[in-house]
Amino acid sequence: MKKIGIIGDRATVSGFIALGYTVFEAENTADAKEALLRLAEDEEYAIIFIVDRYARELEEEINKYSGRKAPAITVLPDALSREGELSFGMMRIKRNVERAVGADILFRD
């Protein structure tokens, strides 16, 4: 049995305790980075969610694990994508499509 970790500011992530997630409260990017690296190296955690705000800043660290099978580091969908401005999670989907297809065919409308 594997665990699910979640990293983010208190207001966003505290509710996830009720779901049985392992919650790491981080008040700044440095804390979030430390928690992320620790969780990513811990094989107990299969899924790590990270809030949009910190994921933006820790893109490099997240990308280091994107080629690996585990863990799955996913940007928590806690920011809204609006017209013309995508949330970071959506941006990552877009970039992934560009990488595979060579052009963005999902968001072009």
């Binding site: 969610f49 959506m90 992934n96």
Partner: protein
């Protein structure tokens, strides 16, 4: 297109022809693999996008509810209320092989603890109940999102790799082989023609020599008969 540097011999030609067939077959297989990967990838990415969009909206609502709850309750009570998990989900991970890409598959099973929220209703606000309820409804979908995202990432990397291989075969290896095979067979043909002309020339020379010898013999015989007369 630069040719491969090999000796223009029949052996090399045969070897190269074999390699060209293999390269062509590999190219076709890889192309098919790329197309199929792309098809699956696009399906996954579309689902991922829609799921993320819907989760974004739902989570925003939950966040709103939490904020209201936090405003009407003291921080201590809120922390206390959330301390015990409402449900304990079990997550098991298995590997799935999708077009030679190993992707994780998450199975999330929710095991409700007490059949409801794990705090008393007395000191907490109704907004909190709603928020926790909504969050726990989203749980399975969040896990699905993580699975889709990882799958898409791994597939994108594989597509990129496969595409590069297809391009290398199509634009460099196969034309290189073709060019080399052409140049070797041209050289061999040229040698063949050279040989033929040489043989013809030698034959001419031999015939000439024979004719010369015949003429000399005739002359000799004429001389002998002339002398005897």
């Amino acid at each position: 297109m630069p040719t491969i540097n090999v000796n223009p011999t029949r052996m090399e030609l045969k070897k190269l022809k074999g390699r060209l067939t293999t390269a062509r077959r590999g190219h076709k297989l890889l192309k098919d693999k790329r197309d199929e990967l792309m098809k699956q990838f696009l399906n996954i990415v579309r689902e991922e996008k829609d799921l993320r969009a819907s989760l974004e909206e739902r989570l925003a609502k939950v966040k709103g509810s939490f904020e209201v709850a936090a405003a009407t309750m003291s921080r201590r009570v809120l922390t206390e209320a959330l301390m015990l998990p409402k449900s304990e989900g079990t997550l098991t991970v298995t590997d799935l092989n999708a077009m030679s890409v190993t992707v994780p598959r998450f199975y999330y099973e929710e095991v409700p603890r007490t059949g409801g929220v794990s705090y008393g209703f007395l000191y907490t606000s109704g907004e909190l109940d709603r928020a926790v309820e909504e969050l726990s409804d989203m749980s399975a979908e969040l896990v699905r999102l993580a699975e889709l995202e990882k799958t898409a990432e791994l597939m994108a990397a594989e597509i990129e790799r496969t595409r590069r291989r297809v391009n290398a075969l199509e634009n460099i290896m196969i034309p290189g082989y073709e060019e080399t095979i052409k140049s070797i067979s041209m050289k061999l043909d040229e040698n063949e023609r050279g040989n033929t002309t040489r043989l013809m020339k030698v034959k001419d020379m031999m015939l000439e020599a024979q004719r010369e010898a015949n003429r000399a013999r005739e002359a000799d015989r004429a001389g002998i008969t002339g002398a005897s007369v």
